[in-house]
């Protein structure tokens, strides 16, 4: 999974990472809870002379901490090492974006060139095309991939029989486990001109080679594959509805649709808000794998996005500094969008992830 998380980071997420992104929201409640607990803890632990120890000199307090919690450090230490090595060392390597890569001097030894590579990117003839493609594909996927699970969850929630409900859920989750390679292969097979299941309706030309068809193919297949899975979280929220609300609404004469409108939808709104904020963090993040696999020489004008361009420039052309600069630009834009969406949501609806 972390492999995914890592490539998600590199490619910036997209709708597929929704479930993962949900968990990212986890930072805040933890902080708040941690704080209040730490406070109450202080009161409880007076028996242990915590007050006295708190005023002891620092080295003694540190020694005391390790004497009490060295086992926990043993539990946590491997993960700290992995994160430090595989996440923070590359972050340190970002300075490559501001340096001339020199193979003899390694990651950080090259000559400092400032914003040269960023200027190069903004003046790149491909710049406008790449940004437009990225935003177009990601916005379509974000919007459609965001609405579809909400609707599906509301529909599934209407099923009375738990057996049928389970069946519908099982069926709709299933495509989520198909790998990207197989998914793209299925798209190609179904769209193959003349013989394919869908391709036969589109005449002799292959839709895979039509630039205008790229975005629809991409987001429709995304929705097909992940809607069922992404609706789990809304179903979880819906299963927590206070049942007396339904009773009260029914006594007031609410029909089926009104129950959905006035009970179900308000129930999932907080979840919707958090997920929406998280989605904003991937406005410039279109997943690498699927675009790369769907790309061909005919549709490349509509399918070259930031992540594929980074790969092409960096790994295939060995322009390490330039590629790092593009990647950094992408990360920063995503991060800014996330923080801005969070601040905005905090102001208007008191929903936030940090």
């Amino acid at each position: 999974m972390e492999r995914n998380a890592m490539s998600v980071n590199q490619k910036g997420g997209g709708v597929t990472g929704q479930a993962e992104e949900v968990a990212r929201a986890g930072v805040t409640p933890e902080k708040i809870k941690g704080q209040s607990l730490a406070e109450s803890k202080g009161k409880v632990d007076v028996i242990d002379n915590l007050e006295a120890r708190r005023h002891a000199p620092l080295p003694m307090r540190v020694a005391d901490h390790f004497r009490r919690y060295w086992e926990i450090w043993v539990f946590v230490l491997p993960s700290i090492c992995f994160v430090a090595l595989f996440s923070y060392v590359p972050m340190y390597g970002i300075q490559l974006a501001f340096r001339e890569y020199d193979i003899t001097k390694g990651l950080t030894g090259g000559k400092w060139v400032g914003f040269k590579y960023f200027r190069q990117f903004f003046n790149d003839p491909m710049f406008v095309e790449i940004i437009t493609n990225t935003v177009r594909i990601s916005l379509w996927t974000l919007v459609m991939g965001f609405i579809a699970p909400i609707i599906l969850a509301l529909l599934i929630n209407q099923i009375g029989s738990s057996k049928i409900k389970g069946f519908v859920q099982t069926v709709t989750y299933m495509p989520h486990f198909i790998s990207t390679v197989v998914m793209v292969a299925m798209i190609q097979i179904f769209l193959s001109p003349g013989t394919g299941l869908l391709g036969r309706f589109f005449g002799r030309t292959s839709l895979m080679g039509v630039p205008g068809a790229f975005t629809p193919i991409y987001w429709i297949s995304e929705v097909w594959q992940h809607t069922g899975w992404n609706c789990i979280i809304y179903l979880a929220a819906l299963s927590s509805v206070d049942l007396s609300l339904y009773e009260a609404a029914k006594i007031d004469g609410a029909g089926r649709l009104q129950l959905i409108r006035y009970v179900d939808i308000p129930t999932i709104m907080p979840t919707v808000g958090v997920l929406l904020i998280l989605q904003m963090g991937s406005v410039l993040g279109v997943g690498f794998e699927k675009v790369w696999l769907m790309q061909n020489t005919l549709n490349v004008t509509a399918s070259e996005v930031i992540s594929t361009y980074t790969y092409r420039i960096g790994i295939l052309d060995n322009q390490f500094s330039y590629s790092t600069a593009i990647g950094l630009f992408n990360s920063v834009v995503n991060f800014v969008f996330l923080v801005a969406a969070n601040a905005f949501a905090k102001r208007v609806s008191d929903t936030s992830i940090f």
């Binding site: 999974m1 492999r3 998380a5 993962e20 949900v22 968990a23 990212r24 986890g26 930072v27 409640p29 933890e30 902080k31 941690g34 607990l37 919690y69 926990i72 450090w73 043993v74 539990f75 491997p78 993960s79 992995f82 595989f86 996440s87 060392v89 590359p90 972050m91 390597g93 970002i94 599906l152 529909l155 009375g160 738990s162 099982t170 709709t172 989750y173 299933m174 495509p175 486990f177 299925m186 193959s192 097909w224 069922g228 789990i232 979880a236 299963s239 927590s240 509805v241 049942l243 029914k250 029909g255 089926r256 649709l257 907080p270 958090v274 690498f288 960096g314 990360s331 008191d350 929903t351």
Partner: protein
């Protein structure tokens, strides 16, 4: 605070699932007659759901039946609901293809070893960070969570792996992804919500260390979350294409997904031996091989899926607590 409220909602959701879905009575309309409008709405909802289920299931069903059918019938569009003719030629060809076997073997090694390492690193970390008396956990959590929003990017990671000598090595599939922050957060939420504080208190009174507490008390209570995390990791490793693409040059070490990419997408199907086949026939046969490969490569996941579905559900629910 909104976040605390969601927290409560989430725990309620978890409890609701524990109680089972069947006792959600609202849409049974007990003792109340449905209005005509409600009937119409019911029927429309049922129809929409039927269409959705068909749209999801049909492509999968088509691939299954097409892989068994006569390739020519498939190409002519005669295979729609049931298999036409019967041919295992595609499967025979697949089983004779060395590339598939190598890929399969590699993926099995990477997946099992990788999942084991994932669990060994992630579960103890989650336990440690779920202990509220462990003060540094807040700063550690922040540093971990930050990596989910911001990363060094492709090239710095690539150069690091190169320096560490992980290029073209099987360890590239296992080490860099050994620790998943997201999985750790799910497991930690589970420990926080399911292991009562009293348990640790009484263990401490009895003089049980953290090690003893973790291995003797917490782990036996945590099979569900271990299953969930294990499955997430398993699927992640099994479907991983990116790592092989970026870091592996040696074809002998490529995992299944990268082999599939060569065969399925780069069209290197070799229906080959029969010179008796026309170009069209051989193209049809190539298609059948593709259908078969899709089945063969996805089979392990499809086989375990129905058994483990409830765990997947649960895992996302637990994750949702923190949403």
């Amino acid at each position: 605070m909104s976040s605390t409220r969601q927290n409560v909602d989430g725990s309620a959701a978890l409890m609701a699932t524990k109680r089972g879905r069947s006792d959600v009575p609202f849409n049974k309309h007990r003792g109340q007659s449905k209005t005509a409008g409600d009937w119409v709405v019911d029927i429309i909802i049922a129809l929409i759901l039927i269409v959705i289920v068909c749209v999801v299931i049909y492509p999968l069903w088509f691939i299954i039946i097409a892989s068994f059918s006569d390739p020519t019938a498939v190409a002519q569009g005669k295979v729609n609901i049931l298999p036409q003719g019967f041919s295992l030629g595609g499967y025979a060809k697949i089983l004779a293809d060395d590339r598939i076997w190598i890929g399969y073997k590699n993926t099995i090694i990477y997946t099992f070893l990788g999942t084991a390492v994932n669990l060994i690193v992630t579960i103890p970390a989650a336990f440690g960070l779920s202990r509220r008396e462990f003060r540094p956990r807040r700063i550690i959590m922040f540093l971990f969570a930050f990596t989910m929003f911001f990363s060094g990017g492709l090239i710095p990671s690539y150069l690091l792996m190169k320096q560490l000598g992980l290029l073209n090595s099987m360890w590239i599939f296992i080490l860099p992804g050994a620790f998943g922050v997201y999985n750790m957060i799910i497991a930690r939420s589970f420990f926080e919500s399911s292991i009562p504080e009293e348990l640790r208190d009484s263990a401490r009174v009895d003089g049980v260390s953290y090690f003893g507490f973790f291995f003797k008390i917490v782990l036996p209570l945590s099979s569900a979350i271990i299953a969930v995390i294990g499955l997430y990791c398993f699927v992640g490793h099994w479907n991983d294409y990116f790592t092989g693409l970026i870091y592996i040059r040696n074809q002998e070490k490529q995992p299944l997904q990268n082999i599939l990419q060569m065969i399925l997408l780069a069209n290197q199907v070799t229906p080959g031996s029969g010179s008796s086949m026309s170009a069209v026939q051989s193209q049809n046969f190539a298609d059948q091989i593709k259908f078969g490969i899709i089945i063969v490569s996805t089979l392990p996941l499809l086989v375990i899926y129905p058994f483990l579905q409830k765990y997947f559900n649960k895992g996302v629910m637990i994750g949702a607590i923190k949403g």
